[in-house]
């Protein structure tokens, strides 16, 4: 038992040396997760803070100016053009000069003063309909404020019914809070899984795998020697992303590291297990990379990282049950933002454990019996 552990340790050391002795390999494994977290942390937000809009004000009244000053003063809308007539609208949107055109018709103020409903038209560039929808939402909340103010100023009764809104866990509804914990798993999966598959494929391509097989190492020891280094590197990568989230973006960490890290290790075990299993079908490093991307891509896209799991069709939601990243992202988000403990996370942890068990035993079998 002890001898076996020592052999695994020796292999782990050799493997870490083999990967990290090359300066470029070292840099490409340790630096990118933090840089990516930094860049994507700023980039990956569905919130809008600069919406270029064009104004078509056909009313030129005090009321229309008041409404427009609400838009300009919001800090979100940036007026890029004052359109003279309606015929200028299509070109402004087509050429992407403005994301939004706000059109106020001629009798806007007259209708308002007469107590009739007055319309404001907001035309948005739907080429990215999610962005456009968010921008339209901002417009209506600014118009809502204008309405409240107008009612108060003109002695009208306040709205008879109000929806009071409150968001738990993320009071300002910042997407970044949601994205960064999701990156802990996503960024780690891509590099760790590929590294595992590649390092076995390299041995096969260079013929050193056969040499390993004639040493006193048992197949499962060889496998552990490949798995442990990848997990160590994966843990370092995940910690890098975590550090960026906490120290740079200052997203408050609500949970406990003693919950997060066991969850992450379980995830890495499952991911590395899949990588080892995959390495059985890859004869060359080229195949190793292409096959691992074939899995990494669907795993990342179907993980709930960028699009919510709940809006996927049922069949695909069931497919995501075999996706280790799905559980890792849920664990990271719940621990990070909601301070979840093991009890709430049980439904994430046992599938990961099961996946690790299945893939690692299958990989051990393959390591032993794979026809060369």
């Amino acid at each position: 038992m002890l001898a076996s552990l020592l052999r695994i340790l020796a292999l782990t050391r050799k493997e870490l040396l083999a990967v990290l002795k090359d300066r470029r390999a070292r840099l490409s494994l340790l630096i990118p997760p933090m840089v990516q977290a930094l860049i994507f942390g700023y980039a990956a937000t569905y919130d809008l803070n600069r919406v270029p809009y064009a104004l078509l004000d056909l009313d030129h009244s005090a009321a229309s100016r008041e409404l427009v000053s609400g838009l300009d003063g919001s800090g979100v809308f940036e007026r890029v053009a004052d359109l003279p007539r309606a015929s200028a609208v299509p070109d402004t949107i087509d050429s992407r000069r403005a994301l939004l055109v706000v059109r106020i018709d001629q009798d806007f103020e007259r209708h308002l003063l007469a107590g009739q409903p007055a319309d404001v038209q907001a035309i948005a560039d739907g080429r990215n309909s999610n962005t456009a929808g968010t921008a339209l939402g901002y417009v209506s909340s600014i118009v809502q404020q204008f309405n409240t103010q107008w009612r108060a100023d003109h002695g009208m009764p306040a709205a008879a019914m109000q929806v009071v809104e409150r968001a738990w866990y993320n009071p300002n509804l910042e997407t970044r809070w949601y994205m960064i914990p999701g990156m802990i798993g996503t960024l780690t999966l891509i590099q760790t899984m590929m590294l595992t598959v590649m390092s076995v494929a390299r041995e096969r391509e260079q013929g050193t795998f056969d040499q390993l097989l004639v040493t006193p190492f048992r197949p499962h020891e060889i496998m552990a020697g490949k798995a442990v280094p990848s997990m160590i590197i994966g843990t370092i990568q995940a910690s890098g992303v975590l550090v960026v989230g906490q120290l740079w973006f200052r997203i408050p960490f609500a949970g406990s590291y003693f919950v997060l890290y066991p969850g992450l290790l379980l995830f890495l075990l499952a991911a590395v297990g899949m990588g080892l299993l995959l390495s059985a079908v890859a004869g060359t490093m080229q195949q190793a990379m292409l096959y691992s991307m074939l899995f990494i891509m669907p795993f990342s896209l179907l993980s709930g990282f960028t699009t919510p799991l709940a809006s996927m069709p049922d069949a695909l939601q069931e497919f995501t049950l075999i996706n280790p990243l799905r559980y890792a992202i849920d664990i990271a988000r719940r621990v990070y933002l909601e301070g979840a403990g093991f009890g709430v996370l049980a439904h994430d942890l046992w599938p990961l454990a099961l996946m690790a068990l299945v893939t690692l035993s299958a990989a051990a079998w393959v390591f032993r019996y794979r026809p060369q």
């Binding site: 700023y42 968001a167 509804l173 060359t284 699009t307 996927m312």
Partner: protein, 392 residues
């Protein structure tokens, strides 16, 4: 130049041109055979696009439907029940009616519901008085969905009160619709389907991956196995080697392109409002750029392990996160926006979104195609320089 013997300059250039053609053809033939015989290349060229098409067409969506929502009816009076019934009929919600707040909060904590709509006990009385309130608590973890849910609830509550006003049951009730009403228009995507922008975006991922991944290993592999040095002692020039490596994979990438466009148009019925020729031209340019990036990585690092990591880092995530395909580029801070300008995917996404949904908008097409063409030229020169330097 030693081939130039007694023959005149025209004869010389003609022979050398013919020889060059023969050399390139031989290289292409060798590379094509290698590609066709390796199942992994075909998997990336054909199976990966198919998987992504299915995922994007059927799976991924930013539209929120069937949101599990807890409705707390503290006092099931007529008006309160009426309101909760209205929400039950909406396609956006899957409501779960409860009598008290505590169990609803537990459901939210466990992630079983995404929000709680609390209709207080005095709702009916205060509605009659004209100052009723309902409280909405959303799970803010997923901020984008949370905001969409807030919008839906406001909309549903608003239309409920508008309908009551219309039925004349409202008394003083004016609804939450105010004196000014916003009429929203979503151009190019009237029905607000996120599929319409996700499916064209799929092309960016497909072309980036096919281009970048296929070529990232080829030069590094030859370096590692020592076969590139063997190639160097033949009359083959470095640009001929690069050409021989590029063209077969370019062909394979085009297969992925055709598959993606056909399925976007016929399977998912995403409108293609621009010209198919401009789309093809832009895609070929982009493929060339992606292939050259892979080749450049490959010849620069000469190590398959590092090349694979770099290829994975420079293709998939940047194309997903920084291209403007999901996230709006204008809202990123200046430093990050600067990074996106270096990214070819950014220009390709602008072209795709316009060509599919808006049509041939030349003010978008011309600058973006020009940038891609410049990048392709610069990368080709860069690749040649890197390969030649190592020849010495």
């Amino acid at each position: 130049m030693s081939e130039a013997s007694a023959a005149g300059p025209e004869a010389h250039s003609a022979t050398s041109g013919r020889r060059r053609g023969a050399r390139v053809r031989a290289l292409i033939r060798k590379e094509t055979r290698q590609m066709v015989r390796d199942p992994s290349s075909i998997a990336i060229g054909v199976i990966l696009p198919l998987i992504l098409i299915m995922l994007f067409g059927f799976g991924l969506s930013l539209d929120v439907r069937n949101v599990p929502l807890a409705i707390v009816l503290e006092q099931p009076s007529g008006d309160a029940v009426d309101l909760s019934e209205a929400l039950r009929l909406s396609p956006y919600f899957r409501p779960l009616v409860l009598q008290a707040m505590a169990p609803a909060e537990q459901l939210l904590q466990r992630g079983r519901v995404n929000g709680i709509l609390d209709i207080p006990g005095d709702f009916a009385r205060r509605l009659a008085a004209g100052d009723a309130q309902v409280q909405l608590i959303v799970d803010g973890s997923d901020a984008n969905s949370a905001r969409i849910i807030e919008g839906y609830v406001e909309g549903a509550v608003g239309s409920w009160s508008a309908q009551r006003a219309a039925e004349g049951r409202a008394g003083k009730l004016a609804g939450i619709a105010g004196p000014v009403d916003v009429q929203a228009r979503l151009w190019f995507n009237e029905s607000d389907e996120s599929r319409y922008f996700l499916v064209p975006g799929l092309l960016v991922l497909v072309m980036t991956l096919i281009g970048g991944l296929l070529t990232a290993m080829v030069m590094a592999r030859e370096w590692e196995l020592g076969t590139l040095e063997a190639l160097f002692v033949t009359p083959v020039r470095s640009e001929e080697i690069l050409l021989g490596k590029t063209l077969p994979y370019f062909g394979l990438a085009l297969v992925g392109f055709v598959l993606s466009v056909l399925s976007a148009k016929f399977l998912f019925e995403v409108p293609l409002r621009g010209s198919i020729w401009v789309l093809s031209l832009a895609s070929m340019l982009y493929t060339l750029v992606a292939l050259s990036i892979g080749l450049l990585i490959s010849s620069a690092v000469k190590n398959q392990l590092v090349a694979s990591q770099l290829a994975a880092l420079t293709t998939f995530m940047p194309a997903l996160m920084l291209s403007g395909f999901l996230f709006d580029l204008r809202s990123m801070p200046a430093a990050v926006r600067l990074v996106t300008y270096l990214l070819p995917a950014r220009y390709y996404v602008a072209l795709l979104q316009s060509l599919f949904l808006a049509g041939d908008v030349w003010s978008v097409i011309v600058p973006n195609v020009l940038v891609l063409a410049l990048m392709a030229a610069a990368l080709a020169l860069g690749g040649r320089a890197v390969t030649r330097k190592r020849l010495a």
